[in-house]
Amino acid sequence: MKGRRYLSDRIFRGIFLFAALFAAAMIVLLLVFVTVRGIQPFLPSYPERQSILPFLTGMRWRADQGVYGVGFIIINTLVGSILGGLLALPLAVLSAIVIGRIAPPKISQALTTVVETLAAIPSVVYGVFAAGKITALVDDIASTFGISTYGGSSQLAVILLLAIMTYPTMTSLTISGIKAVPLTLDSASLALGATKMETYFKVVIPGARSSIFAGFSLGLGRAFGEATAVSMVAGNALIGPTTSLFERTRTLTSTILAGLHETVGLDYDIRFSVGVVLMIIILVTNAMIFGVKRHFDKKAEGK
């Protein structure tokens, strides 16, 4: 009896191990595949060889002329995604406090459902909404300043869209973080004479900081990776970088996506190079977020 139990234990351990290794292998496979394809256009053996420096610093993307420069696209992507994420962050944290602490259970349950539904809406639906409503709003704002836009397709429209799209991810993670902060801490804070607001901002939010950072980096990941919806409101400029919120922009993902199914040769391969750039940007941003989090952890521990 004991032996059989031991055996099934081992079998299941093997299955779990396989699942974990499989997931890890997928990531490695993906990284290797994209990187190998992505460096092809820069190798000497490639017929229409590209130089890496003009590619990384170029301020024009003219596929028809064979000019591929992602410099301005990198800048535009970073600005759009980070501003979008920063716009969503305070909203996410404040609504998580309402759901996790302030609202009565029934309302809190309803609000949680709403947030989870928002997270489940496919991005193309956000895109259709944004291409009709957000662009119109941006166009109205711009015209009050006397600026003419391309029908509202602009950096600002991208930022607003990404704020809306990253908000649910950030909120649901922050909610679980806030719910994990023991209520006894709140009571202690209140007993020491702190007001409710002081308690939320100085006890609850710092206590949930791990989840807030996790939510922020997941949200940014979605912002960086969003292609369909963004390309519908970005205006896909051919030159850059974008210096005004009302100017058109272009992101790395929308560049990869545009015309992907109809193109061949260099114009196809170069998209893998753009993918490599995007992966590096996401890795660096996540490392930076992690660094900031470490900083707060150390502060909190008083080191």
């Binding site: 305070p90 003419s148 397709s153 901002f201 939010i205 710092p206 919120l245 114009d267 008083g302």
Partner: protein, 335 residues
């Protein structure tokens, strides 16, 4: 507790800071963007605008992405290859083009003739004085279009009689049958479907389609632009012609003639039927061919926002000037 609150204090401060920062950036950028903006466009006031819509008269150019067949067609008819202005916006699909131009009063773009103009708030422009329509395209009056031409091998130059007969049947199906014309039309090719004859009546002249033809393989070559229309027709033909097989190898209009009637016809790349997204040139004689001609047109319509009152009609030169940024003001086009 004091140790703890130090870190927490900072965190909440950062939270509030980012909130203020993001708001500040939004409002700040609005102010600064006002100044550099006019440098983009010439500041001369539009003088002779007939009825001037509100806002600036700057032209916003929209283009399809560089892999698009519609863009290739448009640029080849208007006559430029890579001179599109850097200020253009690229859109990813015909629907997106319709949507964006319909939302931007200063916009100009181009869509396929099958687009619903009214629903998308678009005004289709006449080209050289001719309103775009299926009839005007088929008759050749509307010239912002390019012909999709085909040619077969010379009579007796096929590997078997069966092959020659099935190719003859395919040409009849592609150019005369209701089913073939419908398939081409649904794939975006401009033909008059009503001029077709049901295949049931036509096929009496092509006895070969009644047998099982799964051992026969038709190979096609030439233009890549025709691929969608030809594929649709071939898929439909397969059903009506005893499951005949086909292989498409579209590489460019130049190969359409060369691999069927020219130098390469007996080489490894030789094809049974060749296509070009233009008429065959004088140095590409098709007299010997079993059949040749134009099987459909690819029509493109220049569109502007429905509220645009500057233009109703554009010429090739107008379009060239607008899309290469030589003309940047609607008032200039209206003159």
């Amino acid at each position: 507790m004091t140790k703890l609150s130090k870190g927490k204090n900072l965190l909440s401060k950062i939270l509030i800071f980012t909130m203020i920062l993001s708001l500040a950036i939004v409002s700040f950028a609005c102010d600064t963007s006002e100044e550099p903006e006019p440098t983009d466009a010439p500041t001369e006031a539009p003088t002779e605008a007939p009825t001037e819509p509100a806002g600036s008269a700057e032209i916003h150019v929209y283009s399809r992405d560089s892999a698009s067949g519609t863009r290739e067609g448009f640029e080849s008819v208007v006559g430029f290859a890579d001179e599109l202005t850097d200020l253009a916006s690229e859109v990813a699909s015909n629907g997106e083009m319709a949507n964006q131009v319909g939302n931007d009063e200063a916009a100009i773009g181009y869509v396929s003739l099958t687009t619903n103009f009214e629903e998308n708030n678009l005004k289709p422009l006449a080209y050289n004085g001719v309103e775009p329509s299926v009839e005007a395209t088929v008759s050749g009056d509307y010239t912002l279009a390019r012909p999709f031409a085909y040619t077969t091998r010379a009579s007796g130059d096929y590997e078997s009689d069966e092959k020659e007969q099935i190719v003859e049947a395919l040409v009849a199906f592609l150019t005369q049958s209701t089913e073939g014309l419908e398939a081409v039309f649904d794939a975006g090719g401009i033909v008059e479907v009503s001029s077709g004859t049901p295949w049931e009546e036509l096929k009496d002249d092509y006895a070969i389609v009644d047998q099982d033809n799964s051992h026969l393989e038709i190979t096609t070559g030439g233009s890549t632009s025709v691929e969608k229309a030809v594929l649709a027709a071939l898929e439909s033909f397969q059903v009506h012609a005893g499951n005949v097989q086909f292989t498409m190898d579209q590489t460019g209009s130049g190969d359409g003639w060369a691999r069927v009637l020219g130098d390469e016809k007996d080489g490894p790349n030789g094809k049974d039927i060749g296509f070009a997204s233009r008429n065959f040139k004088d140095k590409e004689p098709t007299e010997d061919a079993l059949a040749s001609g134009v099987f459909c047109q690819d029509a493109i319509v220049v569109v502007v926002h429905a509220a645009n009152s500057y233009v109703d009609d554009v010429s090739k030169d107008d379009l060239y000037a607008i899309f290469t940024n030589a003309t940047t003001d609607w008032a200039e086009v209206a003159k």
